[in-house]
Symmetry: D2
Subunit: 368 residues, 4 copies
Amino acid sequence: MKKHYEVIVVGGGIIGTSIAYHLAKAGKKTAVFESGEVGKKATHAAAGMLGAHAECDKPGTFFQFARASQQVYQQLTIELKNNSGIDIRRHDGGILKIAFTESDRERLMRMAALDSAEWLTAEQVVDMEPDVTKDIIGANFIADDVHVEPIAVCKAFAKGARLFGADIFEYTPVIAIDTDSGVQIQTALGTVEAEHIVIACGVWSGPFFKQLGINKSFYPVKGECLSVWNDRIPLVRTLYHDHCYIVPRHNGKLIIGATMKPKNWDERPELGGIKAIIEKAKTMIPEIDKLKIDRCWAGLRPATVDGNPYIGHHPINNRILFAAGHFRNGILLAPATGEMIRDLIIGQPVKPAWIEAFKLERTEVVIE
Amino acid sequence: MKKHYEVIVVGGGIIGTSIAYHLAKAGKKTAVFESGEVGKKATHAAAGMLGAHAECDKPGTFFQFARASQQVYQQLTIELKNNSGIDIRRHDGGILKIAFTESDRERLMRMAALDSAEWLTAEQVVDMEPDVTKDIIGANFIADDVHVEPIAVCKAFAKGARLFGADIFEYTPVIAIDTDSGVQIQTALGTVEAEHIVIACGVWSGPFFKQLGINKSFYPVKGECLSVWNDRIPLVRTLYHDHCYIVPRHNGKLIIGATMKPKNWDERPELGGIKAIIEKAKTMIPEIDKLKIDRCWAGLRPATVDGNPYIGHHPINNRILFAAGHFRNGILLAPATGEMIRDLIIGQPVKPAWIEAFKLERTEVVIE
Amino acid sequence: MKKHYEVIVVGGGIIGTSIAYHLAKAGKKTAVFESGEVGKKATHAAAGMLGAHAECDKPGTFFQFARASQQVYQQLTIELKNNSGIDIRRHDGGILKIAFTESDRERLMRMAALDSAEWLTAEQVVDMEPDVTKDIIGANFIADDVHVEPIAVCKAFAKGARLFGADIFEYTPVIAIDTDSGVQIQTALGTVEAEHIVIACGVWSGPFFKQLGINKSFYPVKGECLSVWNDRIPLVRTLYHDHCYIVPRHNGKLIIGATMKPKNWDERPELGGIKAIIEKAKTMIPEIDKLKIDRCWAGLRPATVDGNPYIGHHPINNRILFAAGHFRNGILLAPATGEMIRDLIIGQPVKPAWIEAFKLERTEVVIE
Amino acid sequence: MKKHYEVIVVGGGIIGTSIAYHLAKAGKKTAVFESGEVGKKATHAAAGMLGAHAECDKPGTFFQFARASQQVYQQLTIELKNNSGIDIRRHDGGILKIAFTESDRERLMRMAALDSAEWLTAEQVVDMEPDVTKDIIGANFIADDVHVEPIAVCKAFAKGARLFGADIFEYTPVIAIDTDSGVQIQTALGTVEAEHIVIACGVWSGPFFKQLGINKSFYPVKGECLSVWNDRIPLVRTLYHDHCYIVPRHNGKLIIGATMKPKNWDERPELGGIKAIIEKAKTMIPEIDKLKIDRCWAGLRPATVDGNPYIGHHPINNRILFAAGHFRNGILLAPATGEMIRDLIIGQPVKPAWIEAFKLERTEVVIE
């Protein structure tokens, strides 16, 4: 194994592999160290909605960043296929954010300022998607909130990075990070040094933050999901209500998720969680309980105190960067995060508002 | 392939393989023809309770037959291990038939005449099984209603039969049965004749009955099940209420089942069915929804008009026999069915009451 | 269940569902009867190469039919996505038919007459695909021989047919076909009659041919396959030599197949077969043995005496049609077969050469 | 979560759970911290041979320890079933260590001094196991080298420990161990202190050794395995030659393994490894290549410099203990290791020879 890289990325999920892809493509000699398999943790569990709007209900820096990342995805579909041979399975239907009650509608209406959302009446919704329950009072339709297949994106980033010269070390946990003279990591394969190290391992970033003197806590919000074979429902658009969703994939499956279980680190789906999401899905599509189950799984979203990710330099040591805490938005934000970290490392300009919003030394307001 | 056998068995589920095992052991040159894989249909889906009492609430011929079969299992555990190398995973905990209401209790009390059932108060039950809900008013405990692993029993019968000289043809559907001169079957491997043919393919026996001039209809009652990893609940006894059960396996899993969906031929579990059994299980063990899901499946129980299986000779052609329609009791009744068919073929005495109860030309009373 | 359809299709593999799709789209009230799950037999096992050239080495009617079907696939990619929501995963790399020896080259040269094949030197091949072994002496490159994901095509046909009004009955074997007065089938769901019945169940069509008075035998040629995760080899084109292939999928897997085991009906992969295809793959890409195995499987190709499928009317009863025996070419020929059967039923013109080549009453020359 | 335990065990494989079981049973308040799932790493991958002789070819301390552990297993079979409800699937057939050549025989003859091994001629072997190749010249038969199902043993230890009051924290990696004042660990769930900490995480123990000032390196020896369905071969005894084996399980499967790939940390089976073990198995049982493949996997054996595990106290800090580096013998040695660590902690006597042989500060001789 080489003993020196320009950049070491700690974590081989969609954030880490996006960073590696963008750096390797820019000519940087990059290595990813992943404790298990590329994309097999939170990435694998995600539904892949590029929900810039689904997750925000007001304009602002986070929304701008999310929209920018969404737009990067447009070019990535073709670029990644060319560079890696992997199709990220982009699906263009958009999202219907359903309202069952007036209070649902009011909440959705806050989004009305955004020109990318369109309010539809119940009739319009049922006309577009005849299997949706008649119990709704309307929906916000967001055409731009498409979806992709997260594991495909991640594998494409990883293989693309490799073909641009990066090394991807799977089953190679980073045991410690030393910053005494230069920066280097310890692994079972030996010690490796680098110009820059990027911490990008989701909810498992906590210990590295601590080792590096950063007092930020991450906590997991476990989400349980399942998929069914959809051989009959002509659903084109993702349905979304109250953090739950039904996503129609191009492979003929529906992805249904997800529960929200804070501080539960166990990555296996529980009986109670599976029951809860079946019940929730049935409120959106009554006929869904006839569909055949494919499989169940769970994953851990990396939550931060204020709900925003940490993306940026170590406050003191410029050779260390962070890209973690993307909560429900890791898939959506991976491209913009990869570009931002690349630009910080190679010295390209980055929007000051983004640096401010995501820097580690920001003042954080606890969200409910 | 040989062109002649003493006995051909149509169907490689637990009934067909038990018959083949008992005949091969008795020296008969036997062949099993199975359209798919041995034990992969209803056998595979069953929980394996040897519930002579769970399925009957009064003494009678069926109960006697069930008890006899249960007793054969005692010797089979060792015999099959010796003859096939396969352990059928007998589990001796017994069954608790739970009562939530007075009407539950009354129904269970009909069983009181049987000396093998014992009424327990709620306190006694919770003392034995502390994770059972406090909402019960008592339970019938039946120590003899143990359980086994159905696919293991079936594979053991099949391998044992093979080692006694039988041939097992998997992926070889029987296309037609000819009875013009002698009896023979047509398969993709050619025509094969025999002294006797036994129809033993569960709910898929219908067409063969019809071809052979027997006007009996079978219908499936689909059951959906799931299993969970039980790493913490010290459950020793099977719990049972209203056709649903929680079975503690020796491999550390709980088997939870089952729905009852008559005339549904689809062997895949549906979302609605999975939800229903999770809900039901939670009424019996409230903490069960913390357990991690292992997998889901479904199977088809072969139902008959009067609820009893058909076991016996063709009314006219003595060379043809039937062993099908065991409904929820296939695993329980497989050994006694195998012995009975063997005895009918080799000319050993069979209890007249059993012949009467299960013969094809009986008068059937439709059950609700 | 309805008791009457315009067309009944027996078999829910890629041939049966293509026929149903094309008929339903043309307005015919159609039903498919499938004994198990749609696409779970030979379709599921196929690699999906649209190898009009890979399977033929000379021009002729079969080649013309294959090329026509290949061209239908071009429009189907978009059409099926629109009509079913399912992406058939078309992959445009083409096929490299590798020559290791002079005799390989001579055989490939017979294809030279076709303007769609291009001979490449070893240097050219390795330049295009650097991981291919240096032991080759050249390859025929056929850009048009792309590949698709067979199960996706089949599910898209089935769902598309359903959304055009067809009924798809899974887990519903056809027990018998009656032609005494009109045509009708018997199933566990009852008797169903139709204007036309199409037999399209691959190697399992034999018994129906026989029932209908047609003396044609089918036999299976079992093929064992496996897939690996390709995280590093930048393979774009399918490699092919001596009936074995390595197919790069857009999901980042390589499909490797396949053995040829005539008259083996067992659909499970055997140890010996898996070893054989690993060895074969290694002769094409030496580094392939470092890749991680994904899974193994097997399927049965429906072979006929002369290597051509039967597509056409019953010689006497015009209401019965056949579409079976596509051997290694089921995925490739499914669209053209679906169109041809549709045209025969609705009375559109069909190329006389195709009718001649595939009719049941042709003179068959046994192939080696 | 509690903040204090008497003993913390780091690692939830078979070594860690055995230690926890023995301590909890002895009344110690114990917690296990496992970074993933109990038993899902090397334990899960092992074949489960209790091969005291298979791994040693001469008497000595290691052999004595192995024999002692083997004997503990005898009582554990019943004890664990009673205490956890889990059956460890003991299989009593013994091992045949096959000789193909004179040099094989000579190596096996070194074992002749042991009264528990018995030399058999080729004829005797084939008489016992008719499917073994005729190419052998004899075999050593060791009746005591039975096998168990490793994951079952580990789950039984874990559940048993839990029911004796231990806590098992899955998905809870230990981030750091502090020894400044008392001993404590850091985890995502917070800081936990204890009287004693035991490091028992196999090849992943290295970083903890280093943190605790112990300069011992571990390295993995990756082993690839597969299983097949054995529906016909009446194999009773495990076959063994040159580190490869065929183990007949009571569930009707054969386990076939294993490759030896030092310093390969990737836990996924590779194509080349699977091919190698199929070839090797075929040399022992020629007919094995007809069997149907079940699945493939891989695992990492934790190797040490001199081939012996480290079991004992930290040289300086008496509150820290180690139990790691069991190489190919983890399943075999788990019970004796659990007892030895328990005795060291509760102050029971331990054989001085064992303490000497396995202590950390021993003089190590590098093995080939």
